[in-house]
């Protein structure tokens, strides 16, 4: 899986309350989560997410298990999230929803083009040398390649 997009840099320990606040969770309309993503971090972010790669600090997605966080990013058109480490529930949620996530320490500037080759386990920013991502388990690769866990289960896996 090869992916690319300009980077949006995010700090360390971005919790799922920051990705989508509790006050927006109860709705029948999932576009609400897209519209209010990262509102308490930077209200201008939601409108700029489509086609980007989020390059975050360690422990991205900590806190609540709310799947709306991963869902908001996927539905907003985020190409992938790269961080040195992720909180485990968010990481599973992202893979289950088909949102590519890569654990890597990436030196990168805001807006720089980020390219990921998940099969090869490499990610690079601009013309800098590529860095290795921590490999996904075979299981997670299979889920991601299917486009998410629901798709995998519907195929009878």
């Amino acid at each position: 899986m090869r992916l690319r997009g300009p980077a949006i840099l995010l700090p360390a320990d971005v919790d799922t309350d920051l990705i989508i606040a509790g006050r927006y969770l109860r709705t029948r309309d999932p576009s609400t989560w897209v519209a209010h993503a990262f509102e308490d971090l930077d209200p201008t972010l939601a409108g700029r997410l489509a086609g980007t790669v989020l390059v975050a600090g360690p422990n991205f997605g900590c806190g609540s298990s709310r799947e709306q966080a991963a869902r908001a990013l996927r539905d907003a058109g985020v190409v992938a999230v790269v961080a040195p480490s992720f909180a485990r529930i968010f990481f599973r949620n992202a893979v289950n929803l088909g949102l590519p996530v890569a654990e890597a320490v990436l030196d990168c500037s805001e807006g720089e083009m980020v390219e990921l080759d998940l099969a090869a386990g490499l990610v690079r920013a601009g013309t800098r040398p590529p860095v290795a991502c921590r490999p996904l388990s075979q299981r997670m690769q299979a889920i991601l390649e299917a486009g998410g866990l629901v798709e995998l289960l519907r195929r009878g896996a």
């Binding site: 509790g22 109860r26 029948r28 298990s65 480490s85 485990r88 968010f90 289950n96 929803l97």
Partner: protein, 403 residues
């Protein structure tokens, strides 16, 4: 020779395993998403008798949208014969802990604080809605068996220190991602001095250090507690195992602490921030809403009156009933406390005590993230005794100095 997680999951740390889930539960928040995803998968429920649905997050409903979403989930739970707890019964983790989780079980909840149930010697961890929908459909889930951090507890808590102070202290030492992907095991003579309520408080905060689970070995305390619910369980004995890290905490050295607004791991002695004015005190949640907590609060407030609005939300109907029967509820009301219906209360910032811009709350909950309890508000996390002292003073106050 293995850690408790390795024994329960029956595989060495680092391996990925598929396991049948003994208990699976959702609440009204995650349950709605789970149901939607389960319908997309298009299969039948694999083991309806292992699934619980418990309404606690927005219970009773706060808006018509919430009410409609809950009505659909309620109907589904009843039609399929799931174990169902409606509004007013209490918090999912507390209710599961009232005799529905046994040592050695694999418990998966669609809520990050499912680790609370590690207090019973079960492997209990949180997942998101899609993983839970898959469990509804297959009865199984996959897990990577975690490496374990062994936390040896020695001595016993003294002065006004509580299990909550212990919990905040270990999160402060580990940091918000200090235990990511790992399990915490609380062992040693100090662990055995903690009540079930105290163990639940301690296990509850494991996720705040990123841990997948926080486990206590079932001992005589566990046996007696579960016997009260009609279960006859065996105790679990620690073995020599391979630990990723070992740390020792002297319970005698634990003092009343708070986590400063914004991060659960910015833990300081209460005395360092004493005098900070607060607008609200909140006692409740899956961390500190149990009878033991309410009883302690009532004892510390008895004959006095709180100086700031103080909200108490019992963790379950059983908790509230016990508070009523023992006079605890009466003492709280006489002290000027507001009692809300059993459930999560204002913890997640949606109802029953949301704070306003610029307001400060001392809360016994487990999260103080930016805007968590209300936009522009700040949350300090602390113990029940710190909550009592603070409510009486109207400002952050260490319980150690209160007569």
């Amino acid at each position: 020779m293995a850690t408790l997680s390795e024994r329960i999951l029956d595989a060495p740390a680092g391996t990925c395993v598929d396991r049948k889930v003994d208990r699976a539960f959702v609440h009204d928040g995650t349950g709605v998403l789970t149901l939607g995803t389960f319908r997309e998968i298009g299969r039948d429920l694999a083991y309806p008798d292992r699934i619980s649905v418990l309404f606690d997050h927005l219970a009773p409903a706060n808006t018509s949208v919430t009410a409609d979403l809950q009505a659909d989930l309620r109907r589904f739970a009843r039609e399929h014969g799931l174990s169902f707890s409606d509004v007013g019964e209490g918090i999912c983790h507390q209710l599961m802990g009232e005799g529905h989780v046994l040592p050695g079980e694999l418990v998966i909840g669609a809520d990050s604080h499912t680790c609370t149930l590690g207090a019973f010697g079960a492997f209990a961890t949180g997942v998101g809605a899609t993983d839970m929908a898959a469990i509804w459909a297959t009865g199984e889930t996959w897990l990577r068996v975690p490496e374990t951090i062994r936390v040896e507890l020695v001595g016993r808590l003294g002065g006004m220190a509580e299990p909550k102070d212990l919990a905040l202290s270990y999160v402060g030492r580990l940091g918000m991602d200090g235990a990511t992907y790992r399990a915490l095991e609380f062992v040693g003579e100090g662990a055995q001095t903690l009540s079930i309520a105290g163990r639940m408080t301690c296990a509850n905060l494991a996720i705040e250090a990123g841990a997948k689970a926080g486990l206590f070995y079932a001992d005589e305390v566990t046996r007696r507690y579960l016997a009260g619910f009609g279960h006859n369980v065996s105790v679990q004995h620690p073995e020599e195992g391979e630990y990723a890290r070992e740390m020792t905490i002297d319970l005698g050295g634990i003092e009343p602490v708070v986590a400063l607004p914004g991060r659960v791991d910015t833990v300081r002695p209460v005395t360092e921030v004493e005098g900070t004015p607060v607008d609200q005190v909140f006692v409740g949640t899956c961390t500190n809403g149990r009878f033991e907590d309410l009883e302690r609060l009532a004892a510390l407030l008895q004959g006095k009156r709180v100086r700031v609005r103080t909200i108490v939300v019992p963790a379950s109907r059983r908790t509230l009933l016990e508070a009523v029967r023992t006079g605890v509820a009466e003492r709280l009301l006489e002290a000027g406390v507001t009692i809300g219906p059993p459930g999560c209360g204002p913890c997640l910032g949606t109802h029953l005590g949301v704070i306003g811009e610029g307001e400060v709350c001392l809360s016994t909950a487990n999260r103080n993230f930016t805007n968590r309890m209300g936009v522009g508000g700040e949350v300090f996390l602390g113990s029940v005794a710190t909550a009592a002292a603070t409510a009486l003073a109207g400002a952050l106050t260490s319980p150690e100095g209160v007569p």
